[in-house]
């Protein structure tokens, strides 16, 4: 089904070659500093598959993003976010029934490029994003760095995020606050004009009440393809090591807060 959808989109964009303008990405978790030119627009489709906890857990996060360039240095984007989860209702262990839940939210991002990754010693951009939904609000700030060295692209992000989740416990509204930090590092090699391959690592930490509750390192391969009309990136990130909150017997992984593997596919075309 997904393949058919991608094939249809490819055919669709093939009929509009004169408007080609895109902001291709080499990584799916790590952001780069480049911004869309003023007036350029792009649609990005995000799919993140998350599975493998200490209990039955499967989740699919999807985002539809409409990006547009504002000036030579500034761009913005609007997102529609959708998340579908199926899990064991007894998440302390096996034995519950399957429960499913959905959530939907909207986001808005702004990115301002201060330095270019080729013209300057390194690329640098500021990034801000807010998200709002019925059961969650988020504010996120990122410092983006990257450097293109011939066929090699290195990118690094430092991320801070504040999240407010709303729930009901015994009839009372409960607000759960989480502070999240994330460091992303990606290295990619251009095999040809259209293909690149590399690795992406991500360290994600969750603080609650000022105390670090969970922290894990993820790393895995990433491949990207880009043409004049569309680009796509696929990254598979298994959890490598938990620094805080490990749940497995060998204390290596945290399968309570995080999954064994996350797989993300980004597909984008200009409009």
């Amino acid at each position: 089904m997904k393949n058919s959808f991608i094939a249809l989109l490819t055919l669709f964009v093939a009929f509009f070659p004169d408007t080609a303008q895109s902001n291709e990405r080499k990584f799916s978790y790590t952001y780069e500093t480049s911004v869309l030119p003023p007036g350029a627009r792009e649609i990005e489709l995000w799919n993140t598959d998350r599975r493998g906890r200490s209990y039955f857990y499967r989740r699919l996060d999807q985002r539809i993003e409409y990006e547009f360039g504002v000036t030579n240095r500034l761009m913005s984007a609007l997102y529609l976010n959708y998340s579908w989860r199926a899990k064991d209702s007894n998440d302390d262990g096996a034995g519950g029934a399957k429960s499913t839940s959905y959530s939907i939210s909207i986001s808005n991002e702004w990115k301002y490029k201060l330095m270019d990754r080729v013209a300057d010693p390194f690329g640098f951009a500021l990034y801000g994003e807010w998200t709002s939904g019925p059961d969650k609000n988020e504010v996120e700030a990122k410092l983006l760095f990257d450097k293109q060295m011939n066929n090699i692209l290195v990118a690094f992000n430092a991320v801070a995020e504040q999240e407010w989740s709303y729930g009901v416990v015994n009839g009372d509204t409960e607000i759960e606050k989480e502070f999240i930090t994330e460091f992303d590092l990606g290295i990619s090699y251009d095999i040809s004009t259209h293909f690149s391959a590399g690795v992406e690592a991500r360290q994600h930490s969750v603080y609650m009440g000022g105390e670090l509750k969970h922290s894990s390192l993820f790393a895995g391969p990433t491949v990207a393809v880009s043409t004049e009309y569309f680009w796509a990136v696929l990254t598979v990130q298994p959890q490598i090591k938990s620094f805080k909150g490990a749940t497995t017997q060998n204390r290596l992984l945290d399968l309570g807060e995080y999954e064994k593997v996350q797989t993300r596919l980004l597909f984008s075309f200009h409009i």
């Binding site: 408007t19 293109q148 460091f183 590092l185 360290q203």
Partner: protein, 113 residues
């Protein structure tokens, strides 16, 4: 105490990553040539003004880096840049005047020199 350890751990991790990044960048960085007066000393360029080249560089960064990483001027010959600019200008909405200035900058630093 636990919190302090956590903060120290994250600060050390971030610093380590930044140092590695900085080393990579400083050891391998090859930035886009910045026009200098001595670049115009060759006879065939002595009618050009430094500001023209600086303008061309600024336009090249502004118009081309949004869609892809910039290529170094020395990666192509001047005729190679002609072909590329002719193909890319409509897509990047580059005007004729802008294309002339970008072409001038790229030609001076192309691999013909």
């Amino acid at each position: 105490m636990q919190n302090t350890n956590n903060i120290i751990y994250h600060a050390v991790l971030l610093t380590t990553i930044m140092v590695i990044m900085a080393q990579i960048v400083t050891s391998c960085a090859s930035s886009l040539p910045i026009p200098r007066q001595e670049d115009l000393k060759q006879d065939r360029y002595n009618t050009l003004a430094l500001d023209e080249l600086r303008d061309g560089r600024a336009l090249y960064v502004a118009k081309c880096s949004g869609c892809h990483s910039l290529y170094m001027p020395a990666q192509y010959s001047s005729s190679g840049w002609d072909t590329i600019l002719t193909a890319m200008s409509p897509k990047a909405k580059i005007t004729n005047d802008e294309a002339v200035r970008i072409r001038t900058y790229l030609t001076v630093y192309s691999n013909n020199n």
